[in-house]
């Protein structure tokens, strides 16, 4: 692939980047948005814009669960937090499907079905599975993207001659290949540790999917045994007898678990076999107070309230949980959350400028030799960079436009929003290939328009306009999202104007001709 190590790495960097860049951008973009997935939820699910509370009352919650899912094998209650002010109950409905509803924590009142997958169930799972469930295909594609990121980062460092200089070099006034390469190096080198850690930790979260043979080698292929030991999965069978007594007070179990964790609160309370004499309750550690995404759990006898089993991870699994927590950032730390967001965006810029550099260094030669490469890759670039941004904005706008209980050709409201995302994304690719040269500018205009439209629609349909949302603490997630949408619109507008100016500078005669027509 080259005569020297550096040349080989140059070849690898170029081609892995061009072939996998579109996939990488989709994963980086949705990952960056997932930093604020719960805030996106508040924006897209207006009925969950509640004031945060620590107080919750179990008896009405259990009543609601009993009404909602009387025969469910379990009820999982995710307890409210600053970022998620509702209790979210997961259960299996009568059709056997895994589903959830949101509950007002103090009254136990069921909130209306949101009719959207929003941030936590569309954008976040897209980041790690692309929503391709068939044979875990999406997980493997994202895993390939993760390994490719590591390969690209290492090979990118190898092909540098002056890596230290690149910290300080950006020459936006130079010709496009030069300035885009500067920006590619700047974003790549400055955020290099972040990108490397994110790619590796993202892979390490899914060790059991990516390296099942390694995981199960010591268990003679018995993966369930591994899960039980490493992650403390504890299960007992039902007795088949209905419970003669009601459940022991869950408050006491929560308090006992918290006492064992030096006062740290739980985040999940799961009641197993609620109606059975062998009912038991699983209380899981909070992931909000420490970096580690802990799996520590205490299990209680549901009727008697006695502790049945306690799990805490071994040292290596604790390291794995720390690495996972580093990636998930479910801990409460707003400055770090914003830094993750900005570094994630810098990764998106790195991929986009890498593409632009590839295109601009080949454009003249491909045109002269009649090669189709630049044209194909340019469409791919536009569709995967500005296209996915437009698709995301279409997802938000559809969320504000579709009335409750809409359904169309058998698809419910949540599915229609997802259709809007994918169809608009497809259209952006078609547009990019159909209108080379103009696609960037036109898609930037579209981004600016859609982002402003989303802000206006949010104000019009929920009444939480910026003046109001900035004034109320519990509406800050909505205000933050609106402000980022406006900032994104401003950036897109500036780019569009600059591209239009350059276009006039490059083709003055064409424009003069047009003006004369």
């Amino acid at each position: 692939m080259g005569d020297t190590f550096r040349e080989s790495m140059g070849w690898l960097h170029t081609w892995a980047g061009v072939v996998l860049g579109a996939l990488l951008f989709a994963v980086f973009w949705t990952g960056t948005l997932s930093v604020f997935d719960k805030e996106i939820d508040r924006w897209m699910m207006p009925e969950t814009r509640l004031a945060a509370t620590d107080r919750l009352s179990w008896p009405p919650l259990l009543d609601t669960a009993r009404e909602l899912a009387p025969d469910a094998p379990f009820w999982s209650f995710f307890l409210p937090s600053e970022r998620v002010p509702v209790v979210r109950i997961f259960y299996r409905n009568s059709a056997g499907d895994f589903t959830f509803r949101d509950i007002e924590p103090r009254t136990g009142a069921l909130l209306p079905d949101a009719g959207t997958l929003a941030g936590t169930r569309f954008i976040f799972p897209f980041h790690y599975s692309l929503h391709l469930r068939w044979n875990d295909l999406g997980y493997w594609l994202v895993g390939l993207a993760g390994m490719a990121t590591l390969v690209l980062l290492v090979s990118g460092v190898v092909i540098h001659r002056k890596i230290f200089m690149d910290f300080f070099t950006f020459r936006p006034d130079r010709k496009l290949p030069r300035s885009s390469l500067d920006l590619h190096n700047l974003t790549g080198v400055l955020a290099l540790p972040f990108h490397f850690v994110m790619a590796l930790s993202g892979l390490i979260i899914f060790i059991a999917i990516y390296f099942p043979a390694v995981i199960s080698s010591a268990y003679d292929g018995d993966r369930a045994a591994f899960y039980k030991e490493a992650f403390g999965i504890y299960r007992t069978n039902t007795s088949g007898e209905p419970a003669s007594q009601s459940l022991a007070p869950l408050d006491d179990m929560v308090a006992e678990a918290s006492r064992r964790w030096n006062g740290e609160p739980p985040q999940l309370v799961r009641v197993w076999h609620p109606n059975d004499a062998e009912a038991y309750v699983e209380v899981r550690h909070s992931v909000k107070k420490s970096v580690s995404y802990k799996l520590d759990a205490v299990y209680f006898d549901g009727i008697m309230g006695a502790v049945l089993h306690e799990h805490s991870s071994g040292p290596v699994v604790s390291v794995q949980r720390f690495i996972a927590g580093l990636h998930f950032i479910q801990f409460e730390h707003w400055p770090l959350r914003w830094i993750y967001f900005v570094l994630g965006l810098s990764g998106c810029v790195m991929i986009a400028t890498g593409y632009i550099y590839w295109l601009e260094t080949r454009r003249k030669r491909h045109a002269a030799q009649g090669l189709p490469g630049v044209r194909i890759v340019e469409g791919l670039t536009v569709g995967s960079v500005s296209g996915i941004v437009i698709a995301t904005l279409a997802f938000f706008v559809a969320n504000r436009l579709l009335p409750f209980d809409t359904s169309f050709v058998g698809q419910d409201r949540a599915a229609l929003e997802v259709w809007a995302f994918y169809l608009v994304w497809l259209v952006t690719f078609a547009h990019a290939w159909a209108r080379p040269g103009r696609a960037w500018r036109e898609q930037c205009w579209t981004i600016a328009g859609l982002a402003v439209l989303a802000v206006v629609l949010n104000a019009a349909t929920t009444g939480d306009h910026l003046v109001r949302s900035l004034a109320h603490r519990h509406l800050w997630p909505v205000a933050g999202m609106d402000l980022l949408l406006l900032a994104g619109a401003a950036v897109a507008l500036l780019i569009a104007l600059r591209l239009a100016r350059r276009c006039r500078a490059v083709h003055p005669s064409q424009n003069a001709l047009k003006a004369a027509e």
Binding site: L181, A208, A218, E229, A230, P315, V316
Partner: protein, 114 residues
């Protein structure tokens, strides 16, 4: 000042001929598929060995995490190594032996249980 655009410099030699496209396909397959099974095989064998000194869940987790690093090293090497015969030896035969060995060994020796 030296041109900073020394890498991936467009040239006229990257037109594909059948011979060069076979060379690239073979290298891609050996790197991505062979590299994966080699990394998984080495890590699984080491997990098996380590499970004698630590709980198997810990050994498996440790080596599954390190497997990504092994895989990364093999991927980079696969594109830097100029002799493709070596790739066949290490990533083809070596991978098959390591992965196959890790799959067979517990059955032959009786898996240690934690």
């Amino acid at each position: 000042m030296k041109s900073p655009t020394h890498f991936a410099k467009p040239n006229n030699s990257n037109r594909f001929s059948p011979a060069s496209s076979w060379r690239i396909t073979q290298r891609l397959l050996l790197a991505i598929v062979g590299g994966y099974f080699t990394a998984a095989g080495i890590a699984a064998l080491m997990a098996l060995a380590l499970s004698r000194v630590m709980p198997p869940s810990e050994a498996g987790t440790l080596m599954a995490m390190l497997a990504f690093v092994i895989y990364l090293a093999l991927l980079l090497w696969a594109f830097a190594e100029r002799r493709s015969a070596r790739l066949w030896w290490v990533l083809g035969l070596g991978g098959a032996l390591a992965f196959g060995g890790a799959e067979m060994l517990p059955a032959l020796t009786g898996a240690p249980r934690g």
